[in-house]
Each structure stands twice: as structure tokens, then as C-alpha cells.
Symmetry: C2
Subunit: 206 residues, 2 copies
Amino acid sequence: MTPKGALAKEKILTGAKALVMRKGFAGTSVDDILAETGVSKGAFFHHFKSKADLANQLMRWYADGDIRMFRTILARAEAAHDDPMDQLMQFLTDFEVYLSDPENPPKGCMYALYTYEDDHFENDLKGFVAETLQSWTAMYIRKFQEVIDRHPPVRPVTAKRLAEMFVAVIEGGLILQRAYRNPGMTARQSEQFRDYLELLFPRAIA
Amino acid sequence: MTPKGALAKEKILTGAKALVMRKGFAGTSVDDILAETGVSKGAFFHHFKSKADLANQLMRWYADGDIRMFRTILARAEAAHDDPMDQLMQFLTDFEVYLSDPENPPKGCMYALYTYEDDHFENDLKGFVAETLQSWTAMYIRKFQEVIDRHPPVRPVTAKRLAEMFVAVIEGGLILQRAYRNPGMTARQSEQFRDYLELLFPRAIA
DNA sequence: CATTAAACAGACCAAACAGTCTGTAATATG
DNA sequence: CATATTACAGACTGTTTGGTCTGTTTAATG
């Protein structure tokens, strides 16, 4: 693939993501994407052999960017602090800043979107979404485990449960954010979750 | 509308709900619904003047049943206890039983589904979804306020925040439940949320 | 600079789609 | 029992859909 081709493909993916986030995948036609991006039908089917192929590549492309973003925020938090609880809190507040970006607040989560339409997708793709969500969760499990090991929680709790709760809280926040058209909802959920953590790990707070 | 007609309409709504929950609204064709329910095209368009009309009526029908279910569980909890914290905990555990029903565990939330496809729907319908979510939240706000008034929380917290967090946690749990095909995820989120409440209102726990 | 392959453009197609229309069976009502 | 209305049945239609195909332009490569 030539650099020019890669650029065109990126344009299609970007436009498709924007449309899919508003209308769902089944609700977005190939012609919609062509109109949005100005790309021709020939060009589209040169880069994607079918709409199902777009579904696959779009998700993989999205997940790649998404996971990369999380790793970046986490790496920064880990570099800034020694104590895992400090790292975690730093991560969460940085994540809240990202969520509240006035330029482009996240419009939703593509994992959730695919999950609510999953009958159309191949098992392969459904598996990929589940694995990606799990690897996202796994990042948090590791960190929560470090926190638990260092600072005994006041109530028995597992790292897995906390990690899953955080993911759920964010996913739920994004839904409320869309439904209410209130871009601050998701960050608020993260804040409230921090409150829970501070209660669970009181001795870890400065 | 004759009783027979009402029955047919109910059959269409039930079948449409099942399909929409699996494939999304845009991803479900009228012909799909006809095949699923055995209803004829003539009958369908006798009861619904368009697919958009189905979107409206389906959501209103769903919301009616949904809110009714919540009110029932809440009323039972309120009848069983005097203390608002006891009522709340009873409500949550009863709700968890409902979520874990081995017969038909909830496959998802239609508010979330519509929210992730909202570009297709009329403003009217989008508004209705937002209002319904808010009236659902409002139920919890009232109860949390009673708890806060009776049992001072160990950290400052608003009833609104707690209510929104609970809704987010459930919505997020349903997404994980679908993605992982694990029907227990949502109830676990509710459990974990209870843990938070018990930390927040320690003196309210027997 | 010739050749080959990638990148596109857009007319075209069959299937799926939402919705219509005409006719018929069931049911309520005076 | 006559009549009107509701409830359906299903063939049909115009449009949208995902996808193909043929031809042309652009760019890499020996």
C-alpha cells in the first residue's frame, strides 16, 4: 500500500467512525460514508472488500488508538509517582481531563456500540471486542492488585471487581452523556468512583 | 382497537423487541419482524404507520414495562422496611435477583441501544428516552436523599451523584454482560455498588 | 522512460428495503 | 340479520442497499 493509499484509507476510517458513532453500524450505509468523505465507490471497495470488512478494520483501528491512549496516560502516571495508589489517582484524573476535552469530548464507545448490534458481526469480530475489553480491564486489574497489596482495603475486595466496576462506570457514563447531551457525565462517574477508592483505601491518601 | 387487534400488536412489539435487542433498530428490517412473528405485512402496517412509528411505540411500550417493574420492586422494599437504607438495600438485592433470573436474564437496555443509534430517531423520541432515564434516576435520587438525611455519609455526597452512578453502573454492566456473554456481570456491578454505599453510610448498617 | 501495479472513478446490477394497494375475513353494532 | 368497521393477507412498487465491473489516472520500479 502506497502512502497515498494509506492516507485515503485513514480518511475513510475517520469518516466512518464519525458516522457510525452517530447512526450505528447497520444504520450507516456505504454511500453515507462516500458522501461524508468524498471518496468514490471504487476507492472504497479497493480498500475494503466488503462492508463487513470495514466493520472489522474499523474496530481494530479504533481499538488500537484507544488502547494506545490508555497506555500513554498510564505510563505518564506511573512515571510521576512511586506509590500505586498515587499512580492510580493520577491516571484517573488525567483520564477525566481527556473525557472533558472541550475540543472533542468522546461521543461514545465503539465497543459498546458494536456490542449492542452484535448479531451482524462475525464471531471473530465479537471475540476481538470481548478480548479488547478484557485487555483494557486487565490493565486496571494489575494496578488495583498493586494498590491492594500495598494498602489493605478496609473491606475485602478483589482487583478484578474494581477493574470491572470502573469499566462499567465509564461505559454507563458514556451512555448517559449521549442521552442527556451532557459532555461532563462520564468524567463525573470517574470522580465518583475515585470517592469509592478513597473510602476503600483510606491509609493510601496523603 | 379490538382485543384481538391489541393481542396482535403485542405480538409484534414482543418480537420486535427481541430482534432489536440482538441487531439494533436500523439493523432490524420490517421483514425480519414479519418472519419472527408470523404477522403479515398488511397487519404490520395496519398497526404501525411506518417503521419510525414502530420505533416510537416500541420504546414507549418498553419504558412503560420497565418503569412499572422498578416501581414494583421499590414498593415492595418500602413495605418491608422503615429505614430508607434498609429499603434501598432490599431494593438493590431484589433488583439483583431480577437481573440474575436464569429464565430470561435481561439482554440489554433499550435506552442504551436507542442512544447509540439516535441519529435515526425524531427529536421527540430522543427526548422521551432522556426523560425516561431521568425519571428512573429521579426515583433513586429521592431514596438516596432520604438515606443521606437519616444517616450522615462519611464523605460529602449528593443524592443525584449516587443515583447517576447507580444508573451508569447498571448500564455499563449490561454492556459487559453482552460483550462477555456472562449473564452475571450486571448483578455483580450492583453488588459492588452496595459495597460503596455501606462504606458511605456505615452507621446505617445493622 | 517503459512497464507494472496500485489507486481511483463512476456507471451499473441484483437483492433487500420500507411502504402501498386491493381485496377478503373477522367482528362489533344498530 | 344487515352494515360498518376493524383486522388482516399478500402481490406489487419505487428506492436504497451492498457490491461489481470496466476503464482511467497516478505512482512506484527496473
